[in-house]
Symmetry: C2
Subunit: 798 residues, 2 copies
């Protein structure tokens, strides 16, 4: 029997004195009162005069249903924190219940410290009410401006993975994570429970989940509230938790039950951690406690409205009633007065001292927990000199390397240099080795606290490589880790990063809004390495081919997003180093893992990447004059094909003046007015000319280049090749042929667009057609690429 | 005790005779042999001569690890199907195991029937081997060209929701769904287990999940394989299943165990269905059986390679060994010969008759199950005349309606007219009523087979509205339902449809490839209604504001995707009807649910939507001449703001010739060469002129319009307004102001771009600034929009 299970038996006890129950209940009433006030009131916050329509907001917005449960848990956590000096972060999965979260932070004083105009008095209370869901005020969900929050809760599903991310490497921290029963139906949440198999009780903190069964979503019951008790308990035990049930609707009894449950849960957490930290070891994964709170939706709200059940019903989900019927004014006043505000607040509108004394003080307040403003705790990573990992490149194409493997060596040493600080982890869905970052395993392991066999490869409870076959969980863990002031790196198959499109959206929105909140400190950037990319899905084919994440990313605010396409290992090293030094951004790096020719020495790579875009003189023969054609490329495979096309052009059309432009920093294509990395029009025209044909080979969907460059002078002459959803399980070169991104098509594109080539044009086009025919025959005969294609070298390369 | 649990006790029995075991094992060996052959061999398929390097493929691709388990289950299902005349669809979650799936379909003869060149003889076997993962051949995953498959399995997580979707309204069908233990870690799969709360044993078929614990992913153990047995069993019971465990690695014993497990499972399914279908009723949700198969990864493959464990290890995940070492040739030959092919195939290369006799015949073969080529079963929907639901519009803006509520009336009658056919369902994450489609509940309910309380609203085991708070599950159910020949409609909050971006990708890819497979019949389109859109998130704010799904959609093949922005209720009716009649497409409809002015009579709506784009003469004053400015709009809110801007222009600049162009069919903006709905350049120029300013108010991210229209003659004069990630919980009009899409900004845009306005320009711009200032003050003072804005009417409208 686990510690948590032993303690559950104490749940029938009465751990609180009558006076303690009274005080905790008073706090809860105060928080509920303030919550209702935020939803409904514009004025008369303490009901000093009878309520009139003028006191009520013209537009009633907000979510009441989940709020009293959030307030109930918050009040009880405060009790435990104060008594036990616990270090607790509050994560409200139902962030819709912002009125409750905000109310508690105001009661604790944090809100007024950060926003002095929302003072702890009647005037401040009035402003607190007015600002909620009000133009120019605060939004309706917990958001970056909410003290103590790292979780918006607007899009449901991510609270529990955020909680695990927050406690990794924070041994003293407890993330109290409220999971709504609506949220519990989402896939990301359903798998996030398994975070306990990746948590090390010796060096990580604890997650204390509260499954809040209030029974209803917007208009429906919830699945977990409508399965038999035994089935629910089996499910939670199956997830590896020891659930403690707190069920009912009578507040006084519920206070005792919740206090007992929390006592049991915190005791269990302490016992587990103590055992793991005193040599008890990690032989067996502990069964962590969790709490199931089953309480009415809209608890303490109106029982019925217009004769229909409201408390304990989905009708409490948002605003339980509007003001369209005059009699609702009385209903609202009676509801508000049911909390007896005059008992809770003094004449000045301050929370009465004996109630206020329930809250912890200073940083122990959940609303002031330093981990919730993680940037303030963030220590920059110690980074080795990335130049030390350079691939020696005697001449362009004169070396071969797997780009991600090289950067894996760099990441290994980043991991090692920061091991003592325990503030860097690498995340990925079972793909770290597949993505050639396996050097990391020289200095750390995969985190794993489930069963380990002798035959296993680098598994350890103390591992710092986080692998679970859930992109959602990887992303959620990483977000939680970053938001609490640490650093991370996420490597993923390019196609499947779309699985977290929506999580990316929410993180980008969080960052954008955070920058507008004065007290939030910058956090480390979220760094994606997208590899196993569209052009090299040799094992997988069409289902694994999608380069569209970048299209999705660039819709977000320019100050937040960066996209890099390093064409070889040395440029990837530069970009990786750069991203790890940055903050408050989302960096997307797209790079291949397959053996490929290397183009730039480290010095050249630094120069090239610092600008983000540039002419490769060694591949150009325009010698500073206006070229006949610009061959632009972005991405490792397009760069290879473009260079091979330039080689062909030299053979077939030696007099043609060709300029090669390589793009590392995709945002350089946008106008400077649109993105801080955008080139000025003058610089852009200098590179791309104002009237010559540009053949642009791009890694992803070709339209993105047009979307970025449509304002440029020479845009109408830009012809872009890229992925157009053609492909299957085939050879690497056949993939580019199917999408017409190969060297032969590129040469044909040049010939089609450069005027004045005369008879040579037809000759070269026929030659390219012949080469393609040769390819078609060869690949279907041999199932492999023609040697002269597969082994092509840049002229002069060894 | 449930039926399944009772039967489990029989799992220790020996249901098969020795001869039956021998034959089933022979089938399994044959399927395994063919699987290895597909991965490795180019020639010498029956090993008639000693293996040489020339017989081996130059590029070795494929996934062996999961394959023997898939083959094992397939062989045993055949046994049951044949004996019991069962109707079984096979869904291989690990579609990576295509060599196995394809092998079984070849053994059954279906493959050769559909692809005669892959005949059931030595030559056909040789072509079968050669084509796998070979250029011009078949891809490495189960794919549309795989007989019997509705599930690619390339991207993991969706097998179980596909299985539930397939059996809804197919009472005789059993979907045997193999869930890999890697896939089981994904969020979508983790919540898909709850499909059993939405399954009606009386009218739906059964899902029989096989959780296949082979223990490893690419390089890692799996979570579910490394938790204690009791925990795993609790988890599965918590999900509502009675698990039957089949565990081991000794084939003969395993055959008996699997046969006993299947006997128990099918008996349990029959008992549950019989009870529900003979008046035993649905008072209690049944506990459905499932099977846990714990077997070695790469079972029957090489035990070790180069001294390292391979069978039962992640090293079996893909190709267990390459041919780089000469000694591996012998390893391969020994492995292949271990199946004793000469016992399995006759001299001609045909499966020996006594083994072939194990397979069911005709449509009972899983590879020939008609449900897997659902288009062949599809009956068109009976549709009422959408014109009967028209909102009466006496003059533009002269009526007010909630567009989605109107189309909800139409959908209600679609539901009713097809009730007897049981081939139409509506899907959505708890938002059907919120999205104003509640008229559906006049004729059906929400599907719900968990506990029902008297106070519940329209819940029934027989409901046809599918609501679970998981966009993944809704999408997976709908895909499974469509792929088996039925019809559906998915309504979703616009922002959160991004949650299924990646599932959309895979379905679009499936449709694209299906069209290239001659024997696949077209299936009904996947229809999305995106509402509760970016401009009207009054209750929710920034986290709920994202119109970017359309950007994602348009990257897919033009013949697959359609995007519609009906500006009012009558156009939405037309578009909804149109989408429900279409096939093999993904239709995205974006429409608002809030009360809004109505612009077009039904006759006008039909004419407008049939073209997809057009001039609204009544809002234009260019009278057929070249206008001074084109005001284009796409989306309901942009249309409203554009009309209000036109109204202002008439007041301030009555001599200005304004043309209003409204876009319903977004793809009309693309060139005809890029999309079948694209306008010809001549038609485009006719609408947008070749040189006049175009002020384009678009619903989503403005860049998308540029990406679609960049090739058009007048593109450089197009100025697009749209959503630029500004917003919060605020008023509807303040939202458009923050994004500069409002009437005042649009008028200012006109003034900035139309030349020759002289002093009027400055005057009008100042007037617009004043109106904006007035707005800012009003909204911050009152928390609501200025009455003259909120109540604006088109001139002449009542």
């Amino acid at each position: 029997m686990t510690t948590a299970e032993q303690d559950v038996s104490g749940a029938g006890s009465q751990p609180l004195s009558p006076d303690e129950v009274r005080l905790i209940n008073a706090w809860w009433r105060a928080a509920n009162y303030l919550s209702v006030g935020q939803v409904y009131l514009l004025a008369n916050p303490l009901l000093r005069e009878p309520l009139t329509p003028a006191h009520v907001k013209p537009r009633l917005l907000g979510h009441w249903g989940t709020t009293p449960g959030l307030n109930f848990i918050y009040a009880h956590l405060n009790w435990v924190i104060k008594r036990d000096h616990a270090n607790v972060l509050y994560i409200a999965g139902p962030g819709h219940g912002a009125p409750g979260v905000v109310a508690s932070t105001w009661l604790e004083g944090t809100y007024s410290e950060l926003y002095p105009e929302i003072s702890q008095d009647e005037a401040g209370m009035c402003r607190l009410f007015r600002q909620f869901s009000f133009p120019g005020g605060i939004p309706s969900h917990a958001s970056p401006d909410t003290p103590g929050s790292i979780h918006e809760g607007g899009e449901l599903g991510y609270s529990l993975s955020h909680a695990f991310g927050a406690v990794f490497d924070n041994p003293d921290l407890v993330a109290a994570c409220v999971v709504g029963d609506g949220e519990a139906e989402t896939g990301p949440l359903a798998t996030a429970w398994h975070g306990n198999k990746f948590l090390n009780p010796a060096h990580d903190g604890a997650v204390l989940p509260f499954l809040h069964l209030n029974g209803y979503k917007i208009a429906n019951p919830t699945v977990l509230a409508r399965i038999p008790h035994a089935e629910l308990e089996a499910l939670l035990r199956g997830y590896g938790y020891a659930p403690i049930f707190v069920e009912g609707d009578e507040p006084m009894a519920m206070h005792q039950k919740m206090a007992a449950a929390l006592d049991a849960a915190f005791a269990s957490i302490r016992a587990i951690q103590q055992k793991a930290r005193t040599g008890g070891g990690t032989a067996e994964r502990p069964v962590w406690p969790m709490i199931v709170l089953r309480s009415p939706k809209g608890w303490s709200g109106p029982k019925t409205v217009d004769g229909k059940q409201t408390e304990g019903s989905w009708r409490s989900h948002q605003v339980p009633f509007t003001m369209e019927k005059p009699e609702h004014l009385g209903l609202l006043e009676a509801w508000l007065r049911s909390y007896v505000p005059e008992e809770l607040f003094d004449a000045a509108g301050r929370l009465r001292p004996e109630i206020a004394a329930l809250a912890p003080v200073g940083d122990k307040r959940m609303s002031a927990n330093p981990h919730a403003n993680g940037g303030a705790l963030m220590r920059p990573l110690k980074l080795p000199d990335f130049r030390d990992y350079a691939v020696a490149v005697q001449q362009p194409g004169g070396a071969n390397a797997e780009a991600t493997r090289i950067s894996g060596g760099f990441l290994r040493d980043v991991m090692e240099k920061n091991a003592a600080n325990r503030n860097f982890r690498v995340f990925g869905p079972d793909e770290t080795a597949s993505n050639r970052l396996q050097d990391l395993f020289e200095v750390t392991s995969r985190a794993w606290d489930a069963e380990i066999l002798a035959s296993d490869d680098h598994l350890s409870p103390d591992g710092r490589v986080m692998e679970i076959l859930s992109e959602h969980t990887c992303q959620g863990w990483l977000e939680g880790y970053l938001l609490t002031g640490r650093h991370g790196f996420f490597s993923c198959y390019e196609a499947f990063i779309h699985i977290v499109d929506s999580m990316f959206n929410q993180h980008a929105k969080w960052l954008k809004t955070s920058k507008e909140v004065a007290w939030r400190r910058p956090i480390a950037s979220l760094n994606y390495l997208l590899t196993s990319h569209v052009w090299r899905q040799d094992h997988n084919g069409f289902s694994h081919q999608d380069p569209g994440f970048v299209d999705h990313v660039v819709n977000k605010k320019a100050e937040i997003v960066r996209v890099y396409f390093p064409p070889d290992a040395n440029t990837l090293l530069y970009v990786t180093d750069h991203c790890l030094r940055s903050w408050n951004r989302i960096n997307v790096i797209v790079a291949g893992k397959q053996p490929s020719p290397q183009w730039l020495t480290m010095d050249e790579a630094i120069k090239h990447c610092a600008t983000g875009i540039g002419i490769w003189e060694w591949a150009s023969n325009d010698r500073g004059a206006e070229p006949d054609v610009v061959m632009a490329c972005c991405g490792d495979v397009p760069t290879l094909e473009t260079l091979a096309a330039v080689d062909l052009l030299r053979q077939y059309l030696p007099d043609l003046k060709v300029r090669l432009v390589n793009v590392v920093d995709l945002m350089s294509l946008q106008p400077k007015t649109e993105h801080p990395h955008g080139l000025s029009d003058a610089d852009f025209d200098e590179l791309f000319t104002r009237g010559k044909p540009v053949i642009f080979a791009y890694h992803g969907y070709p339209w993105l280049i047009h979307r970025l460059a449509y304002k440029r002078a020479n845009h109408e002459n830009m012809h872009v090749r890229g992925f157009k959803e053609e492909g299957s399980t085939t050879t690497p070169f056949d993939m580019v042929v199917r999408n017409e991104l190969d060297r032969f098509h590129l040469v044909a594109d040049v010939v089609d667009r450069v005027p004045g080539l005369g008879a040579a044009a037809a000759y070269v086009k026929q030659a390219m057609r012949d080469r393609l025919t040769e390819h078609y025959h060869y690949v279907r005969e041999h199932g492999a690429d023609m040697p002269m294609v597969a082994n092509w070298r840049w002229p002069g390369a060894e």
